[in-house]
């Protein structure tokens, strides 16, 4: 095995010369600059996709617990559709098929399409968790809310959801960490995120191990940061008197 060469990150991406400060200047960039920008893309794709997934996943999960057959069916169909097609295929659908079928979407940047693809894929998983969280509550909670004169939306807003969300924080945490990992498939449609950086920088520098270690490390750090942040949230919203505060 060859020896380590971490200086590869200080190299200019065009002429391959080592830049003393490790950061490029005047429009030239080093591999370190590129790595950091790729990390930024990974985090942006993940954060926006998580937002989409939380909104749509919550909506679909709630629909599946309502007493209306049609809405339950809609939520179920949504969940099964986005859960049973591989993420990579879904990304290709968003990138190649959807713009071809819906011409106005042709001018939408691929970044947005990937966010939608990853977001809708994850929304199916979050819908499962939201549904499970609501159904884990005692049936009397819903009846009590309605008996108090709340409308159905009010019962959800003030009685069911505040408890359900606290209960599902642990699975939501792992789903948020999964979204960072899953954002790696964006490389397949040329989003300049960490995995695409790994592939291209490995090819250009032949320093695959150093490049992959750096990228893997950044994925690890990102997922770990989410884990800590969610733990903080979990502690802040803990319901006094419940085991572990969150049903766990």
């Amino acid at each position: 095995m060859s020896t380590w060469d971490w200086q590869v990150f200080c190299k200019d991406t065009i002429d391959g010369k080592i830049v003393p400060s490790c950061f490029g200047s005047g429009g030239d960039i080093t591999y370190l600059d590129w790595l950091l920008s790729a990390w930024g893309w990974t985090l942006s794709v993940s954060a926006l996709a998580l937002l989409v997934a939380l909104l749509l996943g919550s909506l679909m999960g709630i629909l599946r617990t309502t007493p209306h057959r049609g809405l339950v069916l809609l939520g179920n169909a949504w969940t099964e559709l986005f859960r049973n097609i591989p993420l990579l295929v879904q990304i290709f659908l968003w990138y190649h098929v959807v713009p071809a079928l819906i011409p106005p979407l042709r001018s939408v940047p691929s970044f947005i399409l990937v966010v939608l693809g990853l977001g809708l894929f994850t929304s199916a998983r979050i819908s499962e968790q939201v549904r499970a969280g609501i159904q884990s509550l005692a049936g009397g909670q819903r009846m009590a809310g309605l008996a108090m004169g709340f409308t159905l939306p009010q019962t959800y807003r003030h009685v069911l959801l505040p408890m359900a969300y606290r209960i599902i924080i642990p699975p939501l945490t792992s789903e948020s960490m999964n979204i960072i990992k899953n954002s790696s498939v964006a490389f397949a449609v040329s989003i300049s995120e960490l995995t695409l950086f790994a592939l291209q920088a490995q090819e250009e520098t032949s320093r695959g191990i150093e490049v992959y270690l750096a990228v893997t490390g950044l994925y690890f750090v990102s997922a770990f940061a989410i884990n800590r942040a969610m733990l903080f949230v979990e502690n802040r919203v803990r319901v006094p008197g419940m085991i572990g505060g969150g049903g766990h």
Partner: protein
Amino acid sequence: MLALDFSFLTPAVISGYVVKGFIFSLQLTLIAMLGGVVLGTLLALMRLSGRPWLVMPAAGYVNTMRSIPLVMVILWFFLLIPLVIGRPLGAEISAIITFTLFEAAYYSEIMRAGIQSISRGQVAAGYALGMSYRQTMGLIVLPQAFRNMLPVLLTQTIILFQDTSLVYAIGAYDLLKGFEIAGKNFNRPVETYLVAAVLYFAISFSLSLLVKKLQQRIAIVR
């Protein structure tokens, strides 16, 4: 609006492009499932053994694998295997090794939960009958753990089947690749991606219905 035209997907085209990839995807899924369950069970037994020199490497392996994106794991193995064995391996073989070792981490978590769901009295009963550790595990604990966890193991296998599409990263010829190449050659990428999505959906969805059925049957027995 673009007119869709599926007429180029004749049986000859399908058997020429898609079948080869489909067979590889199935092979990859089955080998990684069997290998992953065996290795995963060993990892789970190591983690539950209570001996630090067995627990720590197993826990480290499982947690590392579970915190790295699968695409990166595929790339890592594709880079490292040739360095270790001294000659390049094809993308297909590399994918089979990667998926087996990667899925072992996920199956081991399932098996660990399964083994922990068996009451301690079962182990005690085994020992009281004069059985060794190996006999108690092999004849009493593991068969029950497998049965309890069968639905979860199969659900993980459906996820595994979907994940096999990620061998795209190293260019292995799988189901998705077969469709992609057919789409490129006939200049019909929209249609081939659509058919690929429908096929993946049909397989995964019908398998998940089967798992649901199985779950109900197991629930009654319990």
